[in-house]
Amino acid sequence: MIYYYFFSFISILVATQNRLLFWPALPVIFAACFQDSSSPVLILSFTTGLLLDLFVGNPLGISAIILILATGLVLQLKSRFGDNWRIFILVLILTQIVFYVSNH
């Protein structure tokens, strides 16, 4: 889990230097995909959201709510689709690439 926290912190720092606030959602969604237990993932999304708001100047808690909802969505998809959930990682990466390209 420590790697996800590190990845999360780096992505927040990246997000503070450009306009891509989508970055901090990546480690949270990856953790939700790969971790078996949901509790550490929810703590990760909660702390990542708070830290992002502190860095960026958003109202404190708004990003935490969004990231927790995103985590819930991924967990729901994971439980609904069983072993095929890896397809969502592919979709996630493709979405990120499209988002990045459309912003440059």
């Binding site: 720092l13 230097q17 949901s38 909660f46 109202p59 404190l60 808690g61 935490a64 927790i68």
Partner: protein, 252 residues
């Protein structure tokens, strides 16, 4: 999702919502202030690294257009040198005339240096209400307009850039210009000068200033037709705020 998972998700959502409400009423400001004090050095170092990386990468793209740009800049440098000499002579004459007439200096500003911590939708600075920064103050760099303070915490402030979609700034073309217009941001990437009367004459290359005589940028392209109600132009910003390490908040 299992029932315990849904319950813990709900608990975290409620806690986050409570934090949001408490923050909205300002109860968390002391805690935020302490945490931001610890975050400022981290943000500052990140911004320095980001700026230096930008410079490194721009070196690799420079070779394509570099030679012609250097030639243009040399030509422009010569023109500006001639203008500077003329301005210097006029300034000396102006000082002598002011002394003779006993006129006080028109511009008497107090500025506060502030380190840039990051550029997101807003530019975040390492100074806040503890340093007498309040909402609405202009932020400049060498008399170039960077933006306006839109939000202040005890140790941080957030600057709305002219490129922001919500930015609306009263502007004039030329430092003593009578041509007035409204500067607004588009898609957080470009600046548009709008609401300029069709009778007024604006040209590509004209400088656009705020009412406080800070340079916003130069007109890059006239977008409107003669049949439009107002003239509209795209303005090229004078500085790229993302590359700056220090800016100045104009306190008065």
């Amino acid at each position: 999702m299992t029932r315990p998972q849904i319950r813990s998700l709900g608990i975290y959502l409620v806690i986050a919502a409570l934090i949001l409400i408490l923050d909205n009423f300002g109860y968390l400001n002391p805690v935020k202030s302490v945490v931001q004090l610890a975050l400022i050095p981290v943000e500052s170092v990140t911004h320095s690294i980001s700026a230096s990386l930008d410079d490194t990468f721009s070196f690799f793209t420079f070779w394509r257009s570099g030679e012609s740009r250097i030639r243009n800049l040399e030509q422009r440098n010569l023109e500006l040198l001639a203008q500077a000499n003329k301005a210097s002579a006029l300034e000396t004459e102006n000082i002598i005339l002011r002394q003779q007439l006993g006129v006080k200096d028109l511009v008497d500003r107090t500025v506060l240096p502030a380190s840039v911590l990051g550029e997101n939708r807003f530019l975040s600075l390492g100074v806040g209400s503890d340093h007498q920064v309040v909402v609405g103050l202009p932020v400049v760099y060498l008399d170039n307009y960077i933006g306006r303070v839109i939000k202040v915490t005890p140790r941080n402030s957030f600057i709305e850039l002219p490129t922001d979609a919500n930015a609306k700034i009263s502007a004039k073309v030329g430092i003593n210009g009578t041509v007035r217009g409204l500067i607004s941001g588009q898609y957080n990437s470009s600046i548009v000068l709008d609401h300029v009367s069709q009778d007024e004459n604006i040209r590509v290359g004209d400088a656009v200033f705020t009412e406080d005589n800070f340079l916003i940028g130069t007109i890059q392209k006239i977008n409107s037709k003669d049949t439009d109600l107002f003239k509209q132009a795209t303005v090229k910003p004078a500085v790229d705020p993302g590359r700056l390490v220090t800016v100045f908040v104009v306190l008065k």
